[in-house]
Every structure is written in structure tokens, then in C-alpha cells.
């Protein structure tokens, strides 16, 4: 089933990163296997002014995917804005995955600089995909800045811990009903992806969990199935947990009103 991501109609709810694979060939096969329509690409450290990464980026050309350039590695709003502008020229897209890192070791986003950069980039006509924490107030600021999409983390980038604050993610989903919410970063296992999709998130964005798996191609496939399963479960309506066991068929001879 198709869905609307910004101005594009796409099929897959799994967005995939293009870093850290053992080889470009394996990256390409993993993307194909994942059936992802959107692939993120970093350019900050590839000397974009001289198109240093052009050979590598060309490997994505024949995959018919939408490229979502990112500002990975940027530590300030100014740096992120300049990188976004370069990305727009290089990839001929107004999409930008906005990352402004506040802590170089944990790769935790800097929420204040992020909002500042998002505001500026939205005013310049970019479709901003901001990477943030699960903080509701920051997400609301991003929406006010003009973002139609918000990408909260499940856990720090590359940690593979899965959603560490489910309540926070659930609150985001509940409060930002009109916003496209994509869980970005921190998912380690396909079950993590299924879990957040069951909560009604619109998609997930993955990189390390697939690229660094012993078999990235198989892992891409595993995640794709989990994302589909989670989405289907959300649409089907996941039952609410109950405090006590409840037999699905009444026991013979004991009408339910006697089972106290």
C-alpha cells in the first residue's frame, strides 16, 4: 500500500542509510532487499564542494530511490544550513535530513540549534526531516518552524538499544496526529522496528543495524518484514494489555458471570 511522504507517494515505510556497509555492492543489494524508496546520504565529510563523493553517490543512481541527503557531522546550525544548501545543488532535491549534533561522542542532537536551523531551512523552501529526541516540546517547536515531518530517536545513534522511552514516543504520536513521524536512530533489532510501527509511527529510518549486521542483505529483509508487520498490526488494532488472564473461550459449565 502506498503512502505520502512529503510530496512523494511511496510504498515502503522503511528508510535506509547508506553508510557503514562492507562494500557499495552489499549496500545496493541491501537497499534492493529492503524495498526502501528513500535512502539517506551523507556528504559533510566527502568534500561536497569538489563533489568528492560523486563516484560513491553514483552507485545509488540506478536504484530508482529518492535520495534524502543528510547533514550528519554538523555541529552547528550554520554548518547544517550550508551543508543543506550544498546538498540541494548536488542532489537536485529540496529534501534534507537535518542533523545538528550537540555531543560528538553520543551523537545526541542539539535541540536548540536544530530548531534554529529547521526554521531557516523551511523558510528557504526545504522539506526538512529533523532528527531529534522524543521530547514533545522540541517536536512542537519543529512543527511550528514549518516541519511536516519529525524524526525522533528511539535511542542514541548506533546504540541499537531499541525504544528506551516508549511513553515519550506514544505521547508524540498521540499529540502530533497530523505530522509524519519517523523513528530515526537507535533501532537494533527488527522487533524494535515492529514495536514502534505498532504504535502508529509512519516509518522508521535505519542504518547501523542493517549495515553492520553479519549479513546486511538478510537483515534488510528482516527489518522490511518487521516494519510491514508492525504497520499491519497498527491498522488491525493491537489489543490493549489486561491485568488478568482472560480465556478466549468460556470454560464448560462455568458461565462467565460466575468467573469472578
Amino acid at each position: 500500500m502506498t503512502w505520502q511522504l512529503a510530496d512523494k507517494t511511496i510504498s515502503s515505510r522503511m528508510l535506509l542509510g547508506s553508510s557503514l556497509y562492507p562494500s557499495p555492492d552489499i549496500m545496493r543489494e541491501a537497499i534492493v532487499k529492503s524495498e526502501s524508496d528513500v535512502v539517506t546520504v551523507s556528504l559533510r565529510r566527502h568534500n561536497p564542494a569538489l563533489q568528492g563523493g560523486a563516484s560513491f553517490w553514483s552507485y545509488l543512481n540506478d536504484l530508482s530511490v529518492h535520495v534524502l541527503p543528510n547533514t550528519a557531522g554538523c555541529m552547528s546550525a550554520k554548518e547544517a544550513i550550508v551543508t543543506a544548501q550544498m546538498a540541494r545543488e548536488l542532489f537536485n532535491t529540496r529534501w534534507i535530513k537535518l542533523e545538528v549534533i550537540g555531543n560528538d561522542y553520543t551523537l545526541q542532537p542539539d535541540p536548540i540549534a536544530l530548531v534554529e536551523a529547521a526554521k531557516e531551512l523551511c523558510s528557504q523552501g526545504f522539506e526538512v526531516f529533523p532528527y531529534c529526541t522524543e521530547d514533545l516540546v522540541i517536536a512542537e517547536h519543529l512543527v511550528h518552524a514549518g516541519c511536516r515531518i519529525v524524526m525522533p530517536w528511539a535511542a542514541p545513534i548506533g546504540s541499537g538499544r531499541g525504544p528506551v522511552n516508549l511513553e515519550g514516543l506514544m505521547l508524540l504520536r498521540e499529540r502530533l496526529k497530523e505530522v509524519t513521524l519517523i523513528v530515526d536512530a537507535g533501532l537494533g533489532a527488527p522487533s524494535h522496528a515492529a514495536k514502534v510501527m505498532e504504535l502508529g509511527f509512519d516509518g522508521v529510518l535505519l542504518n547501523t543495524a542493517v549495515a553492520q549486521a553479519h549479513d546486511p542483505i538478510k537483515m534488510a529483509s528482516a527489518f522490511a518484514k518487521a516494519v510491514d508487520a508492525g504497520r499491519e498490526a497498527y491498522i488491525a488494532g493491537v489489543m490493549r494489555p489486561r491485568d488478568h488472564a482472560s480465556a478466549s473461550t468460556p470454560e464448560v459449565g462455568k458461565p462467565f458471570w460466575h468467573q469472578e
Binding site: P22, S23, P24, H46, G53
Partner: protein, 368 residues
Amino acid sequence: MTVKVGVIGAGICGRSVALMLRHIAAVSHTRMRISLFDGQGVGPHALMNCPSAVAAGMLAPYSEASVSHKWLIEAGSRALALWPSWVEQLDRPSLLSQSGTAVVAHPQDKRELHDFSDRLMQVEEGDMSCLAPLPQSLTSQFAGRFNDALFLHEEAHVNVPDLLTIMADRISDAANIDSHCMAVQSIDQELAVVTLGNGERITFDYLIDCRGLGAKSDHPDLRGVRGEVLTVHAPEVNYEHMIRLMHPRYCLYLVPRPDNVYVLGATMLESEDKGPVTVRSALELLSALYSIDKGFSEACVLSMRAECRPAFPDNQPRIATFGRTITINGLYRHGILLSPLAAQVASRTLLHAIDERAVWHKESRIPL
């Protein structure tokens, strides 16, 4: 009859091919004249512009399990086994240090070490004979910092600038190798014709193309992967073993050279930019270095160099035959390790072709 062979490119691969070919031809009593072409020549000044000279010289196929696949451990361990006889053949056994690699991680990054161990176990299919207890000298040097280090005892390292210099000497000494300091504009693989930068055309019986990224126009899927390497002099620090530091984002290795000189590298950036080392890369490499041993704080930075390694989309080397030409390319970050093996495979293939008077009518790949 004397067979005329042109070897194009005089990096580690071209030099190895010229010398290996000469050796194998001599053993099989094949009369051969080898012409080695490179725009920089092979002399000392060539080292400044030779991408191979930037390499740290790790002969470390098992350590590479963190970033590579099973094929490298398989081919790399065969290449590693060739090195002792290769340096004997070059008449300089001291170029090779068979002192092993310590793989370490800081306590907060312990997971990286476990991941590495899992990956090694997977590619080695449970055979962990490549691991040995940490040598006593390292146990005391690492005390309190790296308590869970792994030790890959079979790995070795080679002093690359000395290796390239010795190879240049052996090439100069060889009566049947002519080294030409001339740039090659293009080659005709079918006819074994070399067109030089000045337009002169020279015909050979066979060619071996070792140009790396210089042959990019012949290999549309070849790309450059940037690597940055620093060399430091640290009189207060004494390590004789290679050290590989595992980190969530960086993978640093430290290779000792004589007189307390250490080479540390290398970034791995999907970029063909050959510009100078960036501040960020220098910070990453030097911070990681300092974190290995505080004794590096007063080290002097001798050089910072960046180069691009040629790689195909599968990151695996490619040896192929077509017409009258053998091409070797895509050695990526394993150029030094694999060079004697690639040279041996190419030389044997060529000698066989000479015996059979063969011409390869369609391109075929030769496994390493």
C-alpha cells in the same frame, strides 16, 4: 626469443609485479625484458607522490574482519604467508616485523570488541587459532586501561617507505628491467600498445596494468576511497606490536616503525578528494592516539597525508585478462598486504600465456 613486457604504474603493485615477474621468468628460464612506466619514476622523489607510500603497512587480514569479509581473511592469510619469502627475495628480511596486533577498546566501548570477536568467529567459522594470549610486555603496558585486549599473533607489518626504496634499488640493479619516468596516456589492451604522455607509442608482447586510479577511464566502476594517515615521533612510548583501537565510529590502528616512530590511520571516507588532512580527521586520529597512551601527548607530528585507494563496488581486488593485457586493480585498503600475492598470480598467468602464446579474446577474471 626475448619477451617484451610493459608494466604500467610503479606503486607497490607495479614494483612487486616487475620484481616477481623477473624472478618467476628467471626460474622458468624465460628470456624477458620488462619496461616499468610511471610518471613519477621509482626514485626517492617518487615516494612523495606515490599513494602506496602513505600506507601504514599492516599485514593484518584478521584485524580487517571488522571492516571486510571472509574473502579477505582467506586471500589475506595466503598473502601474509608469502611475505617472509618475499622479503628474503628482496634481500631485506628486516623489512618485516612479525609481532602481531593487539585489538583493544576502552571500557565504555567494550561492545565493539565483542562485536569484533563475534565477527571474527563468524568468518573463521569458529576456528579462533588466530588468537593468542596477550604478550607480557603489552599486558603491563595496557594495565588498568585495556584489560580485555585480543591478540592476533600471526599478523605482521612492513616498513613501507623502506620497502618501496628497496624495491626501487632492486629494479635499478636488475639488468632486464628498465624503469621509465614517463607518464602513460593510454594503453591498448588488445594490442599491448602503450601511448606515452608525449604521444609516443610503444608495442609490447604483453602488458600488466597496475595504474590504480590512474586507470579509471578504463574502469567506470572504479572509485577512490580517501584515507588519512599521520606519522608521529614519540620518544616516550615503546610499542613493538600493532594496536587496533575499536570505537563506535572510528577504527584507528597504530603501526610502529623504527626509532619510536608510529604511523596511525586511517580514516575511510567515500570521497575522491586528495586534499590535505582535515582538522576533524586530525582531531579524531590524534584523540584516539592520545587515548591509547598518554605518553603520546608530547609526540611530534612528522607528517599528515591523505590519499585515495582504488576500489571496485564489491571492495575486492580484480585481476583480469583481456587481449594481451593483465590488469590488477581495486586493491583498496589491502594493497600492501595483497601485493605479493597479486603479483604472483599475475606473473604466473603471464608466464603460462607466454608458453601457450596465448591471447585472451574475451575478458576473464582470475581469482586471487
